[in-house]
């Protein structure tokens, strides 16, 4: 089973990189973009075959290492 973890900055946390991307898009003529948030995607190959066990395990990994829950939120997708 594979898991895909989406990590984004929490709402309200300023994202300087996203802002820079928004500015760049604007200067290229894409002026319909009012906001950009940049995050990351991590894909995991898992030995676990049970969905709920896999999800619980990946959430534990997110809390322990993959996300900094002070500033980031995460979302686990099983694929």
């Amino acid at each position: 089973m594979k898991a895909r973890v989406h990590i984004m900055l929490k709402t309200g946390v300023l994202d300087p990189q996203g802002e820079a991307v928004r500015h760049a898009l604007g200067s290229m003529g894409f002026d319909g973009v009012s906001g950009v948030r940049q995050g990351k995607v991590i894909e995991l190959d898992l030995a676990e075959t049970d969905e709920s066990a896999a999800r619980a395990e990946v959430e534990k990994m997110c809390e322990a290492l993959l996300a900094n829950t002070v500033i980031e939120r995460y979302d686990v997708e099983l694929i």
Binding site: V13, L14, P16, Q17, A64, L65, L66, N68, V70, I71
Partner: protein
């Protein structure tokens, strides 16, 4: 009087930090990240600057989960001293030993220059060698030094006088111009500027020296 300097793959200020500790009278052990324990009798742990584990995932994130950092946590829980500089500050935040997070500089640029800093409190063994409100000059060299924290944490840091240093003017977007903060027991300091790079007359910068000498005096008294 013993200092332990942690060394991770990608640390690059570890030897500078050792030199600064030795100059202040400490005996220094360099401790590899895979070690399970600190040397017996360690008074202070130095977590150096650099790019531990290539800044992969997040700055300091992987280092914060290494075996030696478990030993660092035990040391701090027992009331031991620790100083984390630059990447070391990032490691301390990732371990949760200090609150908040460091994000990409607001201007997105890597900042590498000496900056004026205000000593925001002298009520710590790191800063009692300075005058309250004194302005000192220390080098910064970082891409992710933009200190951010929730309003609750900011209020706690202010109310408990735990902001150790402030940038005199904005450098990287940090809230309240925070450059360094103390733990609740005031024995753990994390800061972005590099006192160890300003602790030797031969380098032309000496404003960081007092941080190590005042610490040495406190450790002797303790």
């Amino acid at each position: 009087m013993k200092a332990a300097v942690l060394v991770f793959p990608g640390s690059n200020c570890d030897r500078d930090l050792a030199v600064a500790f030795r100059a202040a009278g400490f005996q220094v052990d360099m401790v590899w990240h895979k070690d399970q324990d600190l040397p017996a009798g360690t008074d202070i742990v130095g977590i150096p600057g650099g790019f531990s584990f290539g800044d992969y995932l997040r700055c300091g994130a992987i280092a914060a989960r290494s075996p030696i950092v478990s030993a660092l946590k035990r040391h701090v829980e027992k009331g031991g001293y620790a100083i984390g500089i630059c990447n070391g500050f990032q490691v301390l935040l990732e371990t949760g030993l200090l609150p908040g997070a460091l994000m990409r500089n607001a201007g997105l640029r890597f900042m590498c220059r000496s900056v004026p800093l205000e000593i925001a409190t002298t009520a710590s063994d790191f800063t009692n060698g300075y005058d309250q409100g004194a302005v000192i000059s220390l080098p910064v060299a970082h891409h992710d030094g933009n200190y951010q924290a929730t309003d609750d944490i900011r209020r706690a840091l202010q109310g408990e006088d735990r902001i150790a240093l402030r940038y005199q003017s904005d450098v990287n977007g940090s809230v309240d111009r925070i450059a360094g903060i103390l733990s609740e027991n005031r024995r753990v300091l994390g800061l972005m500027p590099h006192p160890e790079r300003a602790a030797d007359e031969k380098l032309g910068l000496t404003d960081g020296q007092a941080m190590f000498t005042s610490l040495a005096a406190s450790v002797v008294d303790a």
